[in-house]
């Protein structure tokens, strides 16, 4: 049985990571917030979900992804498309003091937004969660080879898109 303190610990340990994952997945801050709350409400209601779970982070990311997929389906697709086209994606990365660095981070956010969802998710989990392809494969219910190839495609696209900016920044330093 989960104690009230456990949910706070879970929040402090995983909320930021889940938030970034959900931002990358939904490309909408308000959706990410709603889903983050839904995750913790669900865990609070069904504490047995985390019994015998060895990797809490991986489990919570998987839960976040499943809830996000359901949530996106529930929402009106037309409304979502309109929002996505009109609005700039929310920042996934922390603000940088350096304007060049800030520009790079913003471009990276846009580049991630333009990736297909499955490639963006794998890239996010590999780069910013530091998960192995085996762990990613388990979360996304795909084979490790598929995860690796999706990652490779994603990196190639990101590199292609960010190359001019990346070269410029690395040359000036």
């Amino acid at each position: 049985m989960q104690r009230p303190g456990d949910i706070e610990r879970l929040y402090d340990e995983h909320a930021s990571s889940l938030f970034a994952f959900l931002l990358n997945f939904t490309r909408n801050e308000s959706d990410a917030r709603d889903l983050l709350q839904e995750i913790f409400v669900k865990i609070s209601r069904e504490p047995q979900l985390l019994e015998n779970v060895q990797n809490e982070r991986a489990y919570l990311i998987r839960l976040a992804r499943n809830l996000a997929i359901d949530y996106m389906r529930r929402r009106d697709a037309r409304e979502r498309a309109k929002e996505n086209v009109a609005a700039e994606p929310p920042a996934i990365f922390a603000l940088a003091g350096d304007p060049d660095e800030e520009l790079f981070r913003r471009e990276l956010t846009l580049a991630l937004k333009d990736l297909p969802e499955e490639q963006g998710t794998v890239a996010y989990l590999k780069l910013w969660e530091g998960l192995t392809f085996e762990e990613i494969a388990e979360i996304l219910e795909i084979s490790p080879n598929t995860a690796a190839s999706r990652y490779r495609y994603a990196i190639d696209k990101l590199r292609e898109r960010l190359r001019p900016l990346y070269k410029e920044i690395t040359n000036t330093r």
Partner: protein, 148 residues
């Protein structure tokens, strides 16, 4: 080339992720606490069977909903085709004219005749066979069957 990719990946990995806004912590945790304290009995009582069924179905259908939908559509199509084909038969039968009573009487007479003929021939042949098979003979007379 590989070095370039590696340095690019390292560069991306170093990017710090945005933190979850601090003011959300209280809101989300209080919502979670409220959900924890809500008695589950109310939710479980009335529609527990339906919700349980729904959850189980969702768990089964979840991985490939499109594939399941396509399969269901194919089955519906097969049933529809089956019913449309089956429906035609009684309609055709209903539309055909009822044969005149003379023809019916003649058919019945023919049927009776055939039945008599078949019945008598079957009886005759079966009797003959039985006679052939069961006529009692001395053992010495039966050997001709083997030598023939």
């Amino acid at each position: 080339m590989n070095e370039e990719i590696e340095s690019f990946e390292k560069r991306l990995k170093r990017m710090p992720l945005r933190q979850v806004p601090a003011e959300w912590r209280e809101e989300i945790l209080s919502a979670a606490a409220k959900a924890h304290s809500v008695p589950r009995a109310a939710a479980v009582s009335g529609n527990s069977f339906l919700s349980g069924l729904n959850r189980r179905l969702a768990a089964i259908l979840w991985p490939h909903p499109v594939a399941w939908g396509a399969l269901a559509a194919i089955w519906i199509l097969i049933f529809a085709m089956n019913f449309s084909v089956r429906d035609k038969t009684p309609v055709v039968a209903e539309q055909s004219n009822v044969p005149p009573p003379e023809m019916v009487a003649e058919l019945q007479a023919q049927r009776r005749l055939y039945a008599e003929l078949i019945g008598s021939s079957q009886n005759d042949s079966s009797d003959v066979d039985r006679q052939k098979r069961f006529v009692p003979r001395p053992r010495s007379e039966r050997t001709w069957l083997l030598t023939a």
